[in-house]
């Protein structure tokens, strides 16, 4: 890291002093150092170093707060363990807040007084972003989204070619009237994708299209803006997060669709559904729901027919942190999976207490911390192995990628599927 300039430091401190509400102070000053968070954190559990204890991560930001925002900290910093924002501090912050946190929020649930630790970590990332210290690999993903419209830099012609290919596959199976409609207007639904689907794993697109076909849904995908991801949630730059969110918001308006449906992506669902109206400081004019909730509506209302005997293998569910602990879809995910499979087993722990896949918070993008990501993933691998399941279902493409890697490294010998894929496997199409 190059030496910090005064200008960089001033920008970060200005952020610390600019407080729109009392949440930051409340949570920075509330930690009672009970240590319960330690054993909740995958990093600490896997590596047993004190710097990985969530409270230590909070303390980095809190010590800066005391140094720059309290009288005692300014006059006699040593009395209150207040720290200077210097090169050493910045390096520790990068290592702990970017490199050792998936922002899964498990520690928040275990905190004896409910400190929003993930929020503090995110605030620390904002300070680092203000200083231009976002890891290059993570920033590259945000930059790709900002400059090309999707986080993998896929060209429109390539995208269209892949969608048409998946449409042909779908038509081979379901008939000529099965379609993947591009750039249509006035539809009920604007559907979104994680760019890794068209780029490398397009079968999940065919799967959701098959479900939409069975449900006779009125839907479209925009070739201009289909990316459900928003890595601005992770890099700490809320302005960039807002720019990315606004594009998707505007696309729903331009295409005059009634609903924005978020493809199977944990952080993207959180960013677009819960955070985006805050980034943009405006309520959304349309409804935003996840693909899983939409599929469940079809099942509940009989709009699609499912025969769960078509999925006989033992299935377990991985709860994406941003959909369950931070997203409220605990029972929705279970309803979808249990509707589509004959044999289901839960992981221990699961639901609100589930362990992250290990690839959240932008970790999958940051190669420099790969070793840690695989190491903490061993906890998830053990959980999966203990279920004896042959299939792991998870409605998040980021989790899918991490789990696929864990599958190989830890020899789990399982299949990883999205909810659309497992539901499509059990779908019974009307014979006309």
């Amino acid at each position: 890291m190059e030496k910090l300039t005064k200008e960089q430091i001033d920008k970060a401190i200005a952020l610390l002093k600019m407080r729109p509400d009392s949440k930051l102070e409340t949570h920075l000053n509330a930690c009672v150092h009970c240590g319960l968070c330690a054993s909740s954190c995958m990093y600490y559990k896997a590596m047993k170093e004190n710097k990985f204890i969530p409270a230590r991560k909070v303390e980095l930001v809190a010590s800066l707060y005391r140094r720059y925002c309290t009288l005692t900290g300014r006059v006699a910093p040593f009395l209150v363990n207040a720290r200077e924002l210097d090169d050493q501090m910045a390096e520790e912050m990068i290592d702990s807040l970017f490199g050792a946190c998936t922002m899964c929020g498990r520690c928040v649930k275990h905190c004896s007084i409910g400190v929003d630790i993930a929020y503090i970590v995110h605030f620390g990332r904002r300070m680092l972003a203000a200083m231009g210290l976002v890891p290059k690999t993570l920033q590259a993903t945000v930059d790709a989204a900002l400059t090309t419209g999707n986080n993998m830099g896929i060209e429109t012609s390539d995208f269209v070619d892949t969608i048409q290919w998946m449409e042909e596959e779908l038509q081979d199976e379901c008939g000529e009237d099965a379609r993947i409609p591009l750039d249509e207007t006035d539809k009920d639904i604007l559907y979104t994708l994680n760019p890794r689907e068209p780029k490398f794993f397009p079968l999940s697109i065919a799967a959701i299209a098959k479900i939409f076909y069975a449900a006779k849904e009125s839907w479209t995908i925009s070739t201009h803006m289909y990316d459900v991801t928003n890595y601005g949630l992770f890099n700490g730059n809320n302005e960039q997060a807002g720019q990315i969110a606004k594009r998707l918001h505007d696309e729903v308006i331009i295409k005059r669709c009634k609903r924005l449906v978020l493809g199977e992506c944990g952080h993207g669902s959180r960013a677009n559904r819960w955070e985006a109206p805050n980034y943009l400081q405006q309520p959304y004019e349309f409804e935003t729901i996840t693909a899983v909730e939409l599929i469940n509506n079809y099942i509940r209302t009989g709009r699609i027919k499912i025969d769960k005997s078509l999925n006989q293998e033992l299935v377990t569910l991985h709860d994406p942190c941003n959909l369950v602990r931070n997203g409220g879809l605990l029972s929705e995910l279970r309803f979808a999976v249990k509707s589509a499979v004959s044999n289901f087993v839960e992981m221990t722990p699961h639901g609100m207490d589930n362990f992250c896949c290990g690839g959240g918070g932008g970790q999958l993008a940051m190669s420099e911390y790969n070793e840690r990501r695989i190491k903490i993933g061993e906890i998830k691998a053990d959980q999966i192995r203990k279920t004896g399941a042959k299939v792991v279902v998870t409605p998040c493409h980021n989790c899918v990628d991490q789990l696929s890697q864990l599958n190989q490294v830890y020899h789990l010998n399982v299949k990883i599927k999205t909810i659309a894929e497992i539901v499509a496997d059990a779908l019974v199409l009307d014979k006309e």
């Binding site: 986080n151 993998m152 896929i154 390539d158 794993f201 397009p202 493409h397």
Partner: protein, 97 residues
């Protein structure tokens, strides 16, 4: 292999020093014995990278090799990105891979 440098994810730091022997070594680390089909995939990725500076769509790989999607995932169990692109010596693609 001693002189080869990889990023934290095991992708070659400098794609220019890639050779077929390097590909074989990376593949071996993933438990893959390179066959004609593996080479066909790797060559498409390599050529795309030289021409356009990025990884091709899996669509392009299928089109140019004549292989089915299923075959690609079987040949490279880690998928086109972490599996095939890594063997082809490309830098890690951005995004959720």
């Amino acid at each position: 292999m001693a002189e080869l440098e990889f990023d934290g994810d095991g992708f070659l730091t400098n794609p220019d020093i890639w050779t077929e022997d390097v590909a074989k070594e990376i593949a071996k680390a993933d438990g893959i014995e390179m066959t004609e089909k593996h080479w066909a995939v790797v060559n498409v990725i390599r050529n795309n990278f030289i021409e356009k500076g990025n990884a091709p769509m899996v669509r392009t790989i299928c089109k140019e090799t004549g292989l089915k999607l299923k075959d690609i995932y079987e040949l490279f169990p880690l998928g086109p990105a972490r599996g095939a692109c890594r063997v082809a010596g490309l830098p890690k693609p951005d995004g959720c891979v």
